[in-house]
């Protein structure tokens, strides 16, 4: 067996023996004020599949997300993403690095979170983790789109409330692409969710209602400083559901329905997340920090 394979297997064995837990928000686009717990690493593999309108291409855009709780109020995430279009090609569309910071230490009626993201993408990106400006180009071919690089800084203001067992979240987005003169682009997303059961049963069960969270989110673009508004922008409304399939993993599903001509008629999102507890401690030990 090649040495690299052995190392990889060992690393995988170490990862899978870590204790883990999943408590994922069901949303794909909308952020809540709930942060990743300090030292925990969440690994998620998701995809966005677009069902085309006439003139649009069918595509699937997979992405991988590594989310790490730096402190109880600061979470960092790295994304790697790609895209594959029917009758076209499969391309790597770039990476994103985001940070979320919760300025208030206590829970309030409305909990703000500040979000800053750097994106190094090309215009073929279609994961649509958010929609800003008019939305992605769904008609051009990958060869053309990958030649256009987007070097973008994105900010969000996340407002989120837990009212009884409902979570209500609103995100306001402003993004600036430094590679092109597009002005500052805007977008939004709002979401509401609730667990299907609020009391935990005493026994282990996987199909109990307490393991499911359901909700709905709506997101879209709001144009840019060159032309603000909802004209010629993509908008979706999407029911969401998450299922804690084990103590350490969550499956999420969301069929989104396009509300404007610039949207895909249907956007199917699927995600699987696995959470590793105490990853920070283990990495620190690996690099020699005394406990």
């Amino acid at each position: 067996m090649p040495k690299n394979c052995g190392t990889l297997l060992l690393a995988f064995a170490c990862l899978t023996c870590l204790p883990a837990r999943a408590q994922e928000s069901p949303f794909f686009v909308t952020y809540t004020h709930h942060m990743e717990e300090p030292g925990n690493l969440d690994l998620e593999v998701s995809s966005t599949t677009g069902v085309p309108r006439a003139g649009q291409q069918r595509y699937i855009a997979p992405y991988m997300e590594l989310e790490y709780g730096v402190t109880a109020r600061w979470t960092s995430e790295l994304y790697l993403e790609g895209q594959s279009s029917a009758d076209d090609s499969t391309v790597f569309t770039g990476w994103r690095f985001e940070n979320r910071y919760k300025p208030l230490s206590r829970e309030h009626w409305i909990n703000p979170v500040l979000y800053l993201e750097y994106e190094s993408l090309n215009e073929a990106s279609r994961i649509q983790k958010e929609i800003e400006g008019g939305g992605p180009d769904l008609t051009s071919r990958n060869g053309l789109l990958t030649s256009e690089h987007a070097h973008e800084l994105e900010t969000k203001v996340i407002l989120s409330s837990d009212y009884h067992d409902w979570n209500i979240s609103e995100n306001f987005i402003a993004a600036k692409n430094f590679s092109q003169s597009e002005g500052v682009e805007f977008g939004y997303s709002i979401g509401v969710s609730r667990p299907l059961a609020t009391l935990a049963s005493g026994n282990e069960c996987r199909f109990c209602r307490e393991n499911f969270v359901a909700g709905v989110e709506m997101y879209g673009g709001l144009g840019s400083t060159l032309g603000f508004g909802v004209h010629d922008t993509a908008h979706y409304i999407a029911p969401v559901i998450s299922w804690g399939i084990s103590d350490n993993s969550t499956l999420r599903f969301s069929p989104g329905f396009g509300l404007s001509h610039e949207s895909n008629p249907v956007l199917i999102r699927v995600g699987y997340a696995y959470e590793f507890q105490g990853m920070g401690d283990r990495l620190a030990r690996l690099f020699g920090r005394k406990q």
Binding site: H34, T71, A72, D165, S201
Partner: protein
């Protein structure tokens, strides 16, 4: 006899290694009076503590250990101590809802309200 004492001492020190019997509360982590006065709506349903145990193992055991004895290196509370058990249900509920970021304790407001009360109910069962 002597060997037995040595083994006992070793076992005791191993058990103490991960515990936090010297836990000191963060004096800045103060619970508002109104929150401290809240009553646990599940008091009349002690059987709900079983669900609380499940939630505890899932959400709290990483820092507080499965037996709730806390960990010194994480400054996490030993739930067996009187200084924890003497706090009101409302105080414990408020603390796990808000967390204490300065000591690395996350907020568990993402859990439904009743599940947080189930955790309080379970923590009460850890009283020595």
């Amino acid at each position: 006899m002597k060997r037995g004492a040595v083994v006992f001492a070793c076992l005791a020190s191993l058990m103490a290694f991960g515990q936090n019997p010297g836990y000191q509360q963060d004096t800045h982590w103060r619970v508002p009076e109104e929150a401290a006065a809240r009553k646990n709506p599940l008091l009349s349903r002690p059987e709900a503590a079983a669900g609380g145990r499940k939630l505890f193992l899932k959400n709290c055991a990483e820092c507080h250990q499965p037996d709730g004895s806390g960990m010194e290196k994480k400054h996490s509370a030993d739930f067996h101590l009187p200084m924890v058990q003497e706090q009101s249900d409302g105080s414990l509920f408020w603390k796990l809802t808000n967390g204490n970021s300065s000591r690395g304790m996350p907020s568990f407001s993402k859990l439904p309200e009743l599940q947080r009360w189930q955790l309080v109910l379970y923590i009460r069962t850890l009283k020595d």
